[in-house]
Symmetry: C2
Subunit: 221 residues, 2 copies
DNA sequence: CGGTTGTCTGATACTCAGTATCGTATAGGT
DNA sequence: ACCTATACGATACTGAGTATCAGACAACCG
């Protein structure tokens, strides 16, 4: 295990100081001093003081994009849900860092705004992907936007519950939330028109769920 | 005709200069000089340089709250839609100011983030109101959040179309968008238990898609 | 009318985030 | 051993935002 990178040292120093003195009362000089690097290095590593709070944002955004890119027409909705799940899992993987960030964003409105804005970057990626998936026509633009907003909202809902310590099974809750969310956009009655079937993570045997499937589809012929 | 207030002069000076030189290349000193007031007065009138871009935000937020407050259990959903309409009408009433703001938010990411954050303040008010309307129980929290997100998303969709000059009848489009949005929540979503299956618009015969279905599921047994 | 009080304003000095640009050390390749 | 990339430190600068002082001006009150 090589020595920790400058970036990691800065992140740890920043979060430690933010917890001790609060975000506003911690200067960049304080952070760099504790991390043992120069001030210039901080701004080479992070674009701004706020950025150190969300160090992996760009990486997560890239992960989302590549997850979506590797999907077919048939698996598009699954891809969106799993991309959202990727974000959730990243936060959970951060552990204490994510919890500390949550405390900070609750305390300083500017940071909360920043987090909201980054969340909506995910939403934008989802929206564009879903819209393309729908064919990119103008008459589906609103629907695509609503779907993207719903997916992100459901994700945020579960994430917030986990951050607050209100759940020990965030993944299961995520699946449930995502299922009921995607359900909003289902059209159970119509078996006409172009469309596709999306299967959303079942552990049950296929035959066990077929009756329900036929029921929803309208049991053709 | 009374003379325009300091606040109005600052707003006009700011938008004029932002259009001329761009947001970043305009300093607060430039604005105050053009408005004929001191720098201190600017920061007494607006909390920050960004705030001058959204001068009526607090007023709109207050208007939303009072519109929601004056609603009964029966008219709750109508109240939410009309509160959202209030926001739309405010933007339209601003006219050129709203268009100028849109141009600025497109060119400067920090301003766009700021606008997004303020939009989500509306969403939060809606969410809390809807959740209370639903009874405030935990099992409706996600649904309330999804509804609030959907209403705001639909509003933003129509607003953006108007800002881009893509519609001459924003109110009619708003009504249509809001109708289809509320429609999403008309029927409670039907899931088939844990690890649920979501069916999404198919025109194909069930047997035709079964191979793909089994493939996604991992073809048990 | 004179005095008081509260509010609005200008002026000044300060902190700190963020940018720009310099010089330097060091790892890696030839 | 020489060259070149990149990474880092140091310094100076711009500009946002804060704090504080002092003066102008109205309203109110005795």
């Amino acid at each position: 295990m090589p020595e920790r990178t400058v970036k990691d040292r800065l992140i740890e120093a920043a979060f430690t100081l933010f917890e001790e003195r609060g975000y506003e009362r911690t200067t960049v000089d304080d952070i760099t001093e504790r991390a043992g690097v120069s001030r210039a290095t901080f701004f080479r590593t992070f674009r701004s003081k706020e950025d150190v709070i969300f160090p992996d944002h760009d990486a997560v955004l890239t992960a989302i994009r590549s997850r979506l890119a590797g999907s077919t027409q048939q698996t598009a909705l699954v891809a969106v849900c799993e991309a959202a799940r990727l974000v959730l899992l990243h936060y959970i993987g951060e552990g204490e860092l994510a919890l500390s960030r949550y405390r900070l964003t609750r305390t300083f409105p500017a940071l909360r705004d920043r987090e909201i804005a980054s969340t909506l970057q995910y939403q934008r990626v989802f929206r564009e992907f879903i819209h393309d998936w729908m064919g990119g026509e103008e008459d589906t633009a609103l629907r695509a936007e609503l779907m993207a907003a719903a997916v992100v909202t459901a994700h945020n809902y579960v994430l917030r519950r986990w951050l607050r310590g209100q759940t020990d099974a965030p993944e299961a809750e995520f699946d449930a939330a995502m299922a009921s969310t995607v359900d909003l956009f289902a059209e159970p009655g119509s078996t006409t028109g172009p469309g596709s079937i999306v299967v959303f993570r079942t552990s049950q045997d296929l035959d066990a769920v077929l009756p329900a499937l036929r029921g929803i589809l309208g049991d053709p012929a």
